[in-house]
């Protein structure tokens, strides 16, 4: 059986602003030769520090950013879709099947639209429903699923709390019955007590609707709890990819190991100095030759400064490091 989404040798470029008009335009790869598959009905986690290219990868999958090399293939029932340069009619179909949940529930909802109108907007702009009655029914159905009070649908977003706003945002993303959702830091702005509720809601809906989710987050504890597979990104490259349990119990790449050692545990018995990496993620403009992680790697060797390690696969566990054990 083939995968639901196949990403092959994907490169997404940004252009750097010119310092003067005589300078050549520089472009750099924010996502650099990335390969992975997402299976239908699974939650795929994407972690990494700021500047690692997580959001850019998410945007490429949503057809919100063009990619320059490689391919993305969605296997829908209606056939295969490649989101780059879609003609208008296909783009509409694509948008009804692939949706985004934003990070910030305060800025992503229009303050001048009622909750009903916010949730109904995808249905109307994609032309999914034909009558107002049908739209209202769909809105009420999804609002109930997202545990929103349907008597409050005529209110404006400002009268809702952060957790409820995120439920509104989720309802809007799901109302067109998409098959794939990109959730980019969707619980980062919430309190833990509320975050747990949103994660629970997402998981219930995901199972009920058979959704596939890409869950982008910098919070490894949440990813460990929520995702089926996890990819770790660093400077545009996936350095490790494995099923969640494998990755978190037996990390192979030195970057993944270092990330895990930086996570504080809620058990005070483990109170020690947190082991962590020195320095910071380099700027994407100054991407090192050879292995991208060499500048901070504790086990760097001369080979790492020249050659780029490729992904090696061992029992569904992929790592890009010459010395991973």
């Amino acid at each position: 059986m083939s995968s639901f989404i196949e990403v092959r040798n994907l490169e997404v470029q940004y252009e750097r602003g010119k310092k003067n008009i005589f300078e050549k335009t520089n472009s750099f790869n924010a996502v650099d030769n990335v390969n992975f598959d997402i299976q239908k009905g699974k939650i795929f986690g994407l972690v990494g520090e700021s500047g690692s290219g997580k959001s850019t990868l998410g945007k490429a999958l949503l057809a919100a950013k063009e990619y320059h090399r490689g391919s993305i293939h969605y296997h829908f029932q209606e056939g295969m879709i490649n989101p780059n340069h879609l003609p208008k009619n296909l783009l509409k179909l694509f948008r009804s099947k692939v949706q985004l949940i934003f990070q910030d529930p305060y800025n992503s909802l229009s303050p001048r639209m009622t909750v009903r109108d916010i949730i109904a907007e995808p249905l109307e702009s994609l032309g999914i429903t034909s009558s107002k009655k049908e739209t209202d029914d769909r809105v009420i159905e999804i609002a109930q699923k997202c545990q929103l009070n349907i008597n409050h649908l005529n209110r404006f977003p400002h009268s809702f709390s952060g957790g409820q706003r995120q439920r509104i945002s989720i309802a809007r993303s799901l109302v067109a019955k998409p098959e794939f959702i990109v959730a980019d830091e969707s619980v980062a702005a919430l309190d833990v007590s509320i975050q747990a509720g949103i994660l629970q809601l997402l998981k219930n809906i995901q199972q009920e609707m058979g959704l596939t989710i890409m869950f982008i987050s910098h919070d490894l504890s949440v990813v460990a709890n929520f995702c089926d597979d996890v990819a770790v990104m660093y400077l545009g490259k996936i350095v490790e990819l494995a099923p969640t349990k494998k990755l978190f119990t037996d990390p192979k790449h030195p970057y993944t190991k270092a990330l895990f050692q930086s996570i504080p545990s809620i058990h005070p018995d483990t109170q020690t100095t947190l082991q962590t990496l020195e320095g910071e993620i380099p700027s994407i403009y100054q991407k090192p030759q050879g292995c991208v992680f060499q500048t901070r790697c504790p086990i760097v060797s001369s080979r790492c400064k020249v050659d780029q390690p490729s992904m090696k696969k061992h029992n569904k566990h992929q790592t890009a490091c010459f010395y991973s054990t």
Partner: protein
């Protein structure tokens, strides 16, 4: 030794909707060389508590006449603006949550550090600059003699937060208030920053109030923890007591909703409902409408008293009243 003592701190906000209680009977001490953690959801009063130490709350804040913030026997709440100056950056110092928003964008970092030193100490520009470079180096900013002349936007998030800490430490404060100092940072940078704060506490023997919503962060840094809900301390104790043997249903629920990297498959249990608005403050126990152990009449009508569960571990819940 006790450095700052807060007694019966009661704060009301004077708003269009009336006088709303924001802090209720807050009592705690911070000792030298100690990190005191304050945890709770948004709206629980953590930041208001910290800001009242420096009297930085908004103008509509009313302090109850019996409230006391004691430093060396003096009640700071009786001080006027002029007498408060040393408590805003010299004796007490604060690290804010958003390092991007806390530096002036159009003034060089060095000039901001020099300005602060000159307000609080009789010191020449040259001396202030040298001290600033020294502190920047000690918090791990490379080549600080050059970077001191940069603007905050030229720094990365981690460097900006280091510079913020350097600025707070440059006056040798007795008490450092850190309000969500790592919330905007990546985990590897977060680990660097908390290691830095812990080292500075050891070396300077200063007191720290560490405010965060992340209990795991407190597990790794704090000596003692206060759990706040709707402006009340509902539980307090050593980090070990509060996190391994939580007594208040709110603390228990908070821990159940927090992900745990050592036990990542545990189910996360949300706390139903939300923190009520200040104007909807419930009669009786403030946590009653979200509590899974609510007992009945007493919870709805009477305020629970704070009782000692064991030495140094207190809890305010009707379950523990006979």
């Amino acid at each position: 030794m006790s450095l700052v003592k807060v007694e019966n701190l009661n704060i009301q906000f004077d708003t269009d909707e009336g006088q709303l209680l924001a802090l209720e009977d807050v009592n705690f001490t911070v000792n030298n060389g100690e990190i005191l953690g304050i945890a709770g959801e948004s709206g629980s009063g953590k930041t208001i508590t910290a800001k009242s130490l420096m009297q930085l709350n908004d103008e509509n804040t009313l302090y109850h006449p019996n409230s006391k913030i004691l430093y060396q026997g003096e009640n700071l709440l009786n001080y006027d603006e002029l007498k408060m100056v040393p408590y805003r950056g010299k004796i007490f110092s604060m690290i804010f949550q958003e390092p991007m928003a806390s530096f002036a964008p159009a003034i060089r970092i060095g000039d901001q550090m020099v300005e602060q030193l000159q307000i609080h100490e009789n010191i020449s520009v040259q001396e202030a600059r040298e001290r600033s470079i020294q502190v920047l180096t000690s918090v791990g900013i490379p080549d600080s003699a050059t970077l001191i002349d940069q603007y905050s936007y030229e720094f990365s998030g981690g460097m900006r937060q280091r510079a913020m800490i350097a600025m707070a430490l440059s006056t040798n404060p007795q008490l450092l208030i850190a309000d969500e100092p790592t919330t905007a940072l990546d985990v590897t940078i977060q680990a660097q920053i908390i290691n830095l704060i812990k080292r500075e506490v050891r070396e300077r023997n200063m007191g720290v109030i560490f405010i965060t919503h992340d209990l795991a962060l407190l597990a790794q840094t704090a000596h003692r923890i206060l759990i706040m809900y709707m402006g009340k301390i509902v539980e307090s104790g050593t980090t070990y007591q509060v996190l391994t043997n939580p007594q208040h249903p709110y603390t228990q629920s908070l821990i159940e909703s927090s992900p745990d990297i050592n036990n990542f498959e545990k189910p996360l249990i949300p706390i139903p409902g939300e923190v009520p608005l200040l104007k909807d403050r419930p009669q009786g126990c403030v946590f009653q409408n979200r509590c899974k152990k609510i007992m009945g009449e007493a919870c709805r009508t009477q305020k629970p008293l704070t009782v000692a569960h064991e030495d140094g571990h207190t809890v305010a819940c009707h379950i523990y009243h006979e």
